[in-house]
């Protein structure tokens, strides 16, 4: 039996309730929390869905110290992962995927998921090992976005990339040593997957080799690099810009 997960904070819990993707077993709220629009909305949806809603002493939250829980937590069923084969069995047109090669930091993963949802990305592929997994901090940092996008967990990113290529997806790796800038690629009229690498190591060599394009974000000052979630935001929004401005021209 898989254990319950805990999600924290008003936004994360509200998004989980609204999306209906997660089975919520119980919501605990500290008696010291003042009601506001979001808390009221949480209460309302919880009530109409028969979800247990308990007011508890703030001491109950002692074990969650160090987490910005805003005095509200929810016990939810574990996230449901999507199979890559299932994802590919649906029709895709001008869709995008993000492949994360060994992200280590929960905050980065959460921010990437949040940005991916805003940018209309169709799914996120993470490896089952050597990567941070979906945890409470990821949920919280994603502001609940985790419930709005399929998370595809695979044993081998290389196998996933090969499978995508066979299904006519284009593979784009982000790498500081690339020749092309991220805006040199035309992202329109194709399904594409962008590979972002780990915070320090970057995208692994074998995956770069398997990619159709390799792009870098230009650095105007000699400095190490962007934070990985910021780098993803820059690249994915260039694809959005191209899509939206092309649509205008038509």
């Amino acid at each position: 039996m898989e254990e319950n997960e805990i999600i924290y904070g008003k936004n994360a819990i509200l998004e989980a309730l609204i999306s209906g993707e997660r089975e919520i077993n119980k919501i605990l709220i500290s008696k010291t929390v003042h009601s506001d629009t979001k808390i009221n909305k949480i209460k309302e949806i919880a009530k109409s869905n028969g979800i247990i809603f308990q007011f508890v002493a703030k001491e109950k939250f002692a074990e969650y110290e160090g987490v910005s829980h805003q005095g509200i937590i929810a016990q939810v069923s574990p996230i449901k992962y999507t199979e890559l084969d299932d994802f590919l069995s649906y029709p895709h047109e001008n869709d995008s995927l993000i492949i994360l090669d060994g992200i280590e930091d929960s905050h980065n993963l959460g921010a990437i998921i949040r940005t991916a949802v805003c940018a209309g990305v169709s799914g996120i592929i993470i490896p089952s090992r050597r990567s941070v997994q979906i945890n409470s901090i990821v949920e919280k940092t994603s502001a609940g976005a985790i419930n709005h996008i399929p998370i595809i967990k695979v044993n081998s990113l290389m196998n996933a990339v090969e499978k995508l290529k066979k299904s006519d997806w284009w593979i784009i790796a982000a790498d500081a040593n690339a020749k092309d800038n991220h805006y040199d690629v035309n992202y329109n009229d194709m399904n594409f997957a962008i590979i972002m690498g780990a915070e320090h190591a970057g995208v692994s060599k074998s995956l770069i080799k398997a990619s159709d394009f390799v792009v870098k974000i230009p650095m105007l000052k000699k400095f190490n690099s962007l934070n990985v979630s910021n780098a993803l935001a820059v690249i994915i929004y260039e694809t959005v810009r191209q899509k939206l401005t092309n649509n205008k021209i038509k």
Copy 2:
């Protein structure tokens, strides 16, 4: 007398040493830390600059628990802020500034500073009140970028904006309710300052009113919004794209 600050982690300390912008009083390293290229570089620069370098028992780091210090900390002089008048007294051409209206989260501020340096931004303006200040987490999250860009602290953002406008800077506010998308503005051939708002409240109404342009980042899925550092990355790199592609056309 101002107190020393502590900075954490290999990257932050190495960047502080390389930039030479901060007076480093002492570096403490845990005996359990294994040497690597960065640690060796830190030792080397510290030695040639006569900076005290002490190996200490890992128990010494107990007070920094919860911070990702990688077993190395440095005691440094407080950051030197830049005066807006001094900044404006230098000639500026096609320069950019970022104005942060009440950012609350240290990680966000650090990531913004890091991205700003990568994108060649000329300075960052923060208010002296109702905002997170430069602290150890900001330094760490910025990966040392804090030492590569002037931080301008002002008592009133509105006064700063008025002063910038009088000096022929264009003011651009980011706001979710804007009509224009961030890529609809031509950022070339002008000095401009981009105002980013607090995580929840956004840019204050008075500053939006004082702005020459208001832009939004388009949302492809109905979802709350981007994390503020990701949003800044998207906007500032659109200005970089415009600058670099225009240069190519010439």
